[in-house]
């Protein structure tokens, strides 16, 4: 564990170094990584590994804005190669496989499972970690990869800031991408406003919906020409999603908890309740009560 803690400290110090470097070279306009609010429990091997995965996921996906993506292309141009380049995807895949309920009959989900098992196989010679030692080895492997990645990233940034076209070409575009990057919170605010227009904001969980759809919304914003007004465009995009009438205060897990049975019928039941919600908006409890009253389960 001490070794893991030491590695994690090295990672954090490298993050600080990258942040200082980019702040200085971008005249304090870009701060590469925001803070991560996930603490690591270095007392339990299994928990430590899971938290390290979540922590790394936050690092590569949540707190870096568009910066990691922007430098991915630069790293390739600068000839950075190696397994470490795919560590953001690796972390993402392990997190998906371990934290989500995946359906192995679907090719995409099965591939993720195969991929994760293959990584474990190569790391600990078995498809799943099942001892403290296994988890420690996996944690160390992830931290080493993250370190390698960050080292390469720092080197790449150092090279790029020396590029004769840095300020006029690269920095300009980098800043532009940061300007066009909108946080989950900004999208969520627009969502709440749109839901309010339809008077359903009090029933639906805006944070959950945002988390689910944010990638698609961002993609559509990204395809717009410069000069757009974020609130207007985001509202336009989000409204289209709301009009599909697919969000409901009740999810399938709520129904299972309330006594519904698993299987094909569960989906039908959920669809009926969702439809009812849009006909007559009300809370989760009321909708479940309505369904029971109608003897739907």
């Amino acid at each position: 564990m001490a070794q893991l803690q030491k590695l994690h400290e090295q990672v954090k110090s490298l993050i600080d170094e990258i942040n200082s470097l980019t702040s200085e070279k971008t005249f304090n306009t870009i701060f590469f990584f925001e803070n991560i609010n996930i603490s690591i429990n270095f007392h339990s091997a299994g928990a430590c590994f899971n938290e390290l995965i979540n922590w790394s996921y936050a690092l590569f996906i949540e707190v870096c804005g568009p910066n990691i993506k922007f430098f991915e292309e630069r790293m390739k141009i600068n000839g950075k190669m190696g397994d470490y380049l795919t560590v953001p995807k690796l972390v993402h895949t392990i997190r998906t496989t371990t934290s989500h309920n995946l359906d192995w009959t679907k090719p995409a989900d099965l591939s993720k499972k195969n991929f994760t098992e293959e990584w474990y196989n190569q790391t600990i010679n078995k498809p799943q970690p099942n001892s403290d030692q296994d988890y420690d080895i996996c944690s160390e492997a992830i931290l080493n990869l993250v370190l390698e990645y960050l080292n390469a990233l720092r080197d790449c940034i150092t090279m790029e800031v020396d590029n004769e076209f840095f300020e006029e070409v690269l920095l300009k575009e980098w800043q532009r991408r940061n300007d066009r990057h909108f946080s989950n919170y900004e999208f969520e605010c627009v969502l709440v406003e749109v839901l309010g227009q339809y008077e359903i904001d009090i029933y639906l969980d805006a944070t959950k919906i945002t988390k689910r759809e944010i990638d698609k919304w961002r993609l559509q914003i990204k395809d717009l020409k410069d000069g757009f007004e974020f609130n207007t465009e985001a509202a336009r995009i989000i409204t289209r999603y709301i009009l599909e009438q697919k969000y409901s205060p009740v999810d399938q897990k709520d129904l299972l908890d309330s006594g519904a049975e698993k299987g094909k019928e569960l989906m039908n039941l959920h669809n009926i309740i969702t439809k009812e919600f849009y006909n007559n908006p009300r809370s989760k409890t009321e909708l479940i009560a309505w369904a029971k009253e109608k003897n739907l389960f």
Binding site: F70, E73, R74, K76, I77, T86, K89, T93, T105, K106, P107, A108, L110, S111, K112, N114, F115, E118, N163, E164, F165, F166, E168, V169, L170, K172, E173, W174, R176, R177, K216, L219, Q220, K222, D223, L224, K225, D226, G227, I237, R240
Partner: protein, 1121 residues
């Protein structure tokens, strides 16, 4: 509004055209242009690409472009391009010249090939995996000065011609199926609107979309294009439109990126393995890997009947994998036999050289059944399966070998290769042999027609017949099977007296629910009716049919022609509509689909052909097939339908006219002489179906006409290709041999043969530096056959001198060594039949006769030792029998013998020695005694025979038998009881033989290497083995190459024991089963295989106290003692 565009984007070919404004689309500022303006636009000209030509840049061009290249590299890829790059584009065109697009479109799953040069050879212009990006004005990264962007007006004008040539390719690449998306283009582009519009006018309606079109809407040309339906417009960026389509689920684009990262997986009994992208990409040009996900495609809530129909209709070229888990494939009775054959090969190594061949008529359900076989082998037995569909592109044997090797390294015991190639069965045997020589463990299943040759040899191992008719039991099973999907049809079938499998499948199953099939004849009428209403447009004169009409004497007025205008073909009047249909149906009845480019060449690319091809989509009588990464083909739905429709043509004359029309329009647009091309492959396949070796005799009387068509192709240079030359020569030779004078087109036989010889000789000369051996071998054998035919023709007309001269030409061309190589059996055959014919015609003097006889006997002897392949065994036996019959009473008279001897010929000795052994075989009791006599006889006369390869070989062969009591290569792991003197004698004879023999013989080289090893000449032995290994790689020697025939031996005939030390860790678990072991006694490291020692691992330094050394064609190898 954009539904048609979306559909075309999904089905492809999709082509993107990006104008010079593309970098400013998102931000309004073109950073590339801005930066170069800042540096070079000292006189403040307008900041456009057009104005760059006026900037008068004086700096050295190399410096300018090197700077621009660096700048390009520093510009990040616009984010919107990343979005549109997910589309599997078939090609990208651009008038920009920075190099950002290369990066933007290159990914883990797609490489990029920039093209700035019109002369650059594009073998597959629609390749989605190796995407071609055409830089109309060159690119800043180009080294060649002519391929860089123009910086001066003069350079621009010079480049315009190249631009137009490159643009002219666009309509063909797009084809009537595809779509062109234009973005980032405006009036300031260096590409003039007129040039772009010319391309657009050549496309069909709904085939092009212009984005950012607002500024063009007042333009007359654009308005006309829009009004005529050819061009659709959108004011915004294409990425915005695409994003809307994606969000609204209007478009379905397959993005392989995630799949690449997460990997493709293949589960084999031992484990699950990840297929690396480079392995996947390399093999996917040749074959489909039947991986873990291939059967997992699922379409939710689709009508089952439609889904079933989709399965049936897509099974003509490639199995529709999604249907197998849903039990859509009807299991024929023969299927179990087929499966049994495969499973037997898993256990039985004796069948390793024998492919399984499924033979039957077209449309007997072979493709569906082979797909089912792949499905069951994967899902029930977890065999790794590689599937090769019928295609004209070359099947790359090296890539198959590499893939199988990769699988074996990863633990697969055997790979199943299913090749639905409808090839001659010997192609499959050839491939299997070659893979076996490489040491691969493969079970090969192929498909072919039931030829006469096959029907005469139905007992041959591995042949499985696939009859077109259903048995009574099958019919009843079929009825139950159909009932699962369409109960009503099942009732209809029970009352129909029809046992044809295809008819069952296609005639009685509605195309879509509720639409009872209208019958083939009805469809044909409907189709021709539609075609006949089409009017030809003003651009028609580009087409071949236009020429045909003019040649037929029609006065063609613009806008006056319709497709019901008829032209004479084979003394029948055929409408143009019919010509198009039959250009597809005639090859279609032989199971051949027609390359799109070929039909385009016939019809001509213009608006007429576009609407014509559009009708094809509407009526469905002719189908589009896309094979491999970009090969577009048109074919009938089934070969049987094509055969039925072809009968509408009536006489064979008309059919041959269609075949000639197709051949006449074969084009080779690129490539080194001899390089593969799928139009050529189509022509070859078509010629095979109607040629002298086919079962289709009605075409025999048209051979001269066909040969004349090939001559025209050759002479015009439209399709000058050695494989067509080979065919032309073959048709001519067969004409001379087998037809009457009335079929020779008024020419005499010798003239035709001279023409054949001359074209083949020229082709051989041109191929001198061509790397591939096989085409040269075929041409050489063909030339020899022509000489042989000439010799026989001269002999028959009594012209002995000319006959002998032609025979001498033949013998000069083919050496015994060449002809005895099993790969060149054709050469042996030619020498055989021509020599025997001439011996029967008695053109030789007595001395010549014995020379010729002894040569032939020696050739047979050598070929036997080198092992004639199974496919040729019968022909070989027939030749030998004929020879033996001819010489059995023909002893060498003493006077002739003495004369030969006095002249320095050893043929007399050879023939007398041969008479001693006669026809006796190794299993005969007196075989040893006879060999002893032969050896003594030749040894006594060594002075006379020492410079004669035939006698030396016979001496060596008899010596070997006397010493070992066995023939060469009789069993595996045999010891050799030779003293050092024996080995020295052996080596001396072999070196002598090698010095005389012109061509390589594996037997002598292999034994020579073993002798060198036993004599302690290890370095020489290694050199000999290296040469042998190289020469026999990818050859017809099959398993013989890797069999361990002999062991290092003591003189008493016991195997010699060695000890050794392992040089590095090897382990089955790590899939590293081949290691090296140091043998101190010979001071050499030699390879070993773990399984030969029955060990799962060794580590470096392990000592093996006792082992033997065996020899295969690759060299010494350690085995367990």
């Amino acid at each position: 509004m954009y539904e048609e565009i979306i559909k075309r984007l999904e089905s492809g070919p999709a082509v993107l055209m990006l104008g010079q404004k593309y970098l400013s689309l998102e931000t309004g500022e073109d950073i590339f242009l801005k930066m170069i303006s800042k540096k070079y636009n000292s006189q403040n000209f307008e900041e456009t690409y057009k104005s760059v030509l006026d900037w008068e840049i004086t700096e050295d061009a190399n410096t300018v472009f090197s700077w621009m290249y660096k700048l390009s590299k520093s510009i990040p890829i616009p984010e919107w391009i990343n979005s549109i790059a997910k589309i599997p584009w078939s090609a990208v065109y651009t008038s920009s010249y920075d190099t950002i697009l290369n990066r933007a479109f290159e990914s883990d799953t797609r490489s990029v090939q920039p093209i700035s040069d019109e002369k650059y050879r594009v073998s597959d212009p629609r390749d989605k995996i190796n995407l071609h990006i055409t830089y109309l004005f060159g690119a800043v990264g180009e080294v060649d000065v002519n391929l860089r962007p123009p910086l001066k007006r003069s350079e621009y004008l010079r480049r315009r011609a190249v631009v137009n040539n490159l643009l002219n390719r666009l309509p063909t690449i797009i084809s009537p199926k595809g779509v062109l998306i234009i973005d980032g283009y405006d009036f300031e582009d260096e590409l003039p609107l007129d040039d772009l519009a010319t391309v657009l006018y050549n496309l069909g309606s709904g085939q092009a979309l212009l984005c950012g079109a607002q500024s063009f809407l007042e333009n007359e040309i654009i308005r006309d294009l829009v009004e005529s339906g050819k061009l659709l417009t959108y004011d915004g960026m294409f990425s915005e439109l695409l994003s809307q389509w994606v969000v609204n689920d209007q478009i379905n684009i397959y993005d392989p990126t995630d799949e690449y990262y997460l990997g493709r997986w293949l589960t084999i009994p031992e484990k699950r393995i990840n297929i690396p992208q480079e392995v996947y990409n390399a093999i996917s040009k040749t074959a489909t890997i039947v991986d873990d996900e291939i059967f997992m495609e699922s379409i939710n809530e689709i009508d089952e009947v439609e889904d079933f129909r989709r399965f049936l209709s897509s099974s003509n070229a490639t199995p529709a994998w999604f249907g197998y888990p849903k039990n859509y494939a009807f299991k024929r009775e023969q299927y179990e036999i087929l499966m049994q054959n495969v499973l037997e090969r898993k256990k039985d190594n004796e069948l390793k050289d024998v492919p399984i061949i499924v033979h039957g008529q077209t449309s007997s359900g072979k493709t569906t059944s082979l797909g089912l076989l792949a499905f069951e082998l994967r899902t029930l037995h977890q065999y790794p399966v590689l599937y090769i569909e019928k295609r004209y592109q070359k099947v790359d044997e090296t890539e198959i070998d590499k893939f199988c090797n990769w699988l074996e390294i990863n633990g697969a015991k055997k790979t199943v290769i299913i090749w639905d190639g409808m090839q001659d069965r010997f192609y499959y045997e050839g491939l299997l042999k070659k893979l076996n020589t490489r040491g691969r463990n493969v079970i090969l299943i192929g498909s072919c027609y039931s030829t006469l040759e096959i029907l005469e040899n139905t007992n041959t191992l591995g042949l499985v017949e696939w009859p077109i008719d259903l048995s009574a039991k099958e019919k009843s099973e079929f009825q139950k099977f159909i009932k699962n999907f369409v109960p009503l049809i099942s009732n209809i079938i029970s009352g129909i007296n029809e046992s044809n499998f295809l008819a069952m499948m296609y005639r009685y199953i509605p195309e879509v629910k509720g639409n009872i099939f209208r019958g083939l004849a009805g469809e044909y009428d409907f189709f021709t009716d539609i075609l006949l209403t089409k009017t030809l447009t003003t651009d028609y004169k580009t087409s071949q049919l236009y020429d045909a009409m003019q040649a037929a004497g029609f006065e063609i007025e613009q806008d006056m022609l319709t497709l019901n205008m008829s032209t004479e073909m084979g003394q029948e009047m055929l409408t143009l509509a019919d010509q198009l249909i039959f250009c597809v149906m005639v090859p279609g009845k032989f199971g051949l689909n027609v390359p799109f480019e070929l039909l385009l060449q016939i019809i001509g690319y213009d608006a007429f052909s576009t609407s014509l091809f559009k009708v094809l989509n509407e009526v469905n009588i002719i189908k589009w097939y896309e094979v491999g990464p970009g090969e577009l083909l048109l074919g009938p739905r089934t070969a049987l339908e094509a055969a039925i429709l072809s009968k509408y043509l009536g006489k064979v004359d008309v059919e041959v006219s269609i075949i000639k029309l197709l051949l006449r329009n074969i084009r080779l647009n690129y490539g080194q002489f001899g390089e593969p091309s799928y139009q050529i492959q189509f022509a070859i396949d078509l010629l095979d179906k109607i040629g002298p070796n086919s079962e289709n005799s009605p075409y025999k009387s048209y051979f001269f006409q066909i040969a004349e068509e090939l001559k025209a192709l050759r002479e015009t240079g439209y399709a000058y290709h050695p494989r067509l030359i080979l065919k032309e020569a073959f048709f001519l030779r067969e004409l001379v041999k087998k037809t009457g004078d009335e079929m020779l087109g008024g020419q005499n036989r010798q003239e035709l043969l001279d023409r054949a010889a001359s074209i083949v000789k020229n082709a051989l000369e041109e191929l001198a530096s061509f790397p591939e051996k096989s085409i040269k071998m075929f041409l050489t054998v063909e030339l020899a056959s022509i000489y042989g035919t000439k010799a026989v023709q001269f002999a028959k007309s009594g012209n002995v001198q000319l006959s002998k001269q032609a025979y001498q030409d033949l013998r000069d061309l083919l050496s015994i060594g060449f002809a005895s190589n099993p790969e060149n059996y054709g050469a042996l055959d030619v020498i055989g039949w021509s020599t025997l014919d001439l011996l029967e015609d008695e053109i030789f003097t007595e001395e010549e006769k014995f020379d010729v006889q002894s040569d032939l006997a020696y050739l047979f002897e050598s070929a036997e030792v080198e092992a004639v392949s199974e496919r040729n065994e019968k022909r070989f036996d027939d030749l030998r029998l004929r020879f033996n019959d001819l010489i059995k009473n023909d002893e060498v008279a003493e006077s002739v013998f003495e004369k030969l001897k006095a002249d320095g010929h050893a043929s007399g000795f050879f023939m007398r020695a041969k008479y001693i052994t006669g026809l006796s075989k190794p299993e005969d009791n007196d075989f040893y005694e006879k060999n002893l006599q032969v050896f003594r006889y030749l040894d006594e006369n060594f002075t006379f025979i020492k410079n004669d390869n035939k006698c030396l070989f016979l001496l060596f062969k008899s010596w070997w038998f006397v010493k070992t009591h066995s023939t060469f290569f009789s069993t595996e792991k045999q010891t050799l009881p030779f003293s050092q003197d024996d080995w020295s004698y052996c080596l001396e004879i072999l070196q002598r033989l090698e010095a005389i023999e012109i061509n390589f013989s594996t037997t002598t080289l292999y034994i020579k290497a073993i002798a060198q090893f036993h004599l302690g000449h290890y370095r020489d032995a290694r050199e000999s083995f290296t040469y042998l290994e190289t020469e026999t790689s990818y050859s017809f020697y099959g398993r013989r190459r890797i069999k361990k025939f002999y062991l290092a031996s003591n003189s008493d005939g016991t195997p010699k024991k060695y000890s050794g030390q392992i040089r590095r860790n090897v382990s089955v678990a790590m899939n590293d089963k081949r290691g090296m072991i140091l043998i101190p006694d010979i001071d050499q490291e030699i390879p070993f295989l773990l399984y030969d020692f029955r060990q799962s691992s060794y580590q470096r330094g392990d000592r093996i106290g006792s082992l033997y050394i065996a020899f295969n064609f690759r060299g010494p190898i350690a085995i367990e003692s």
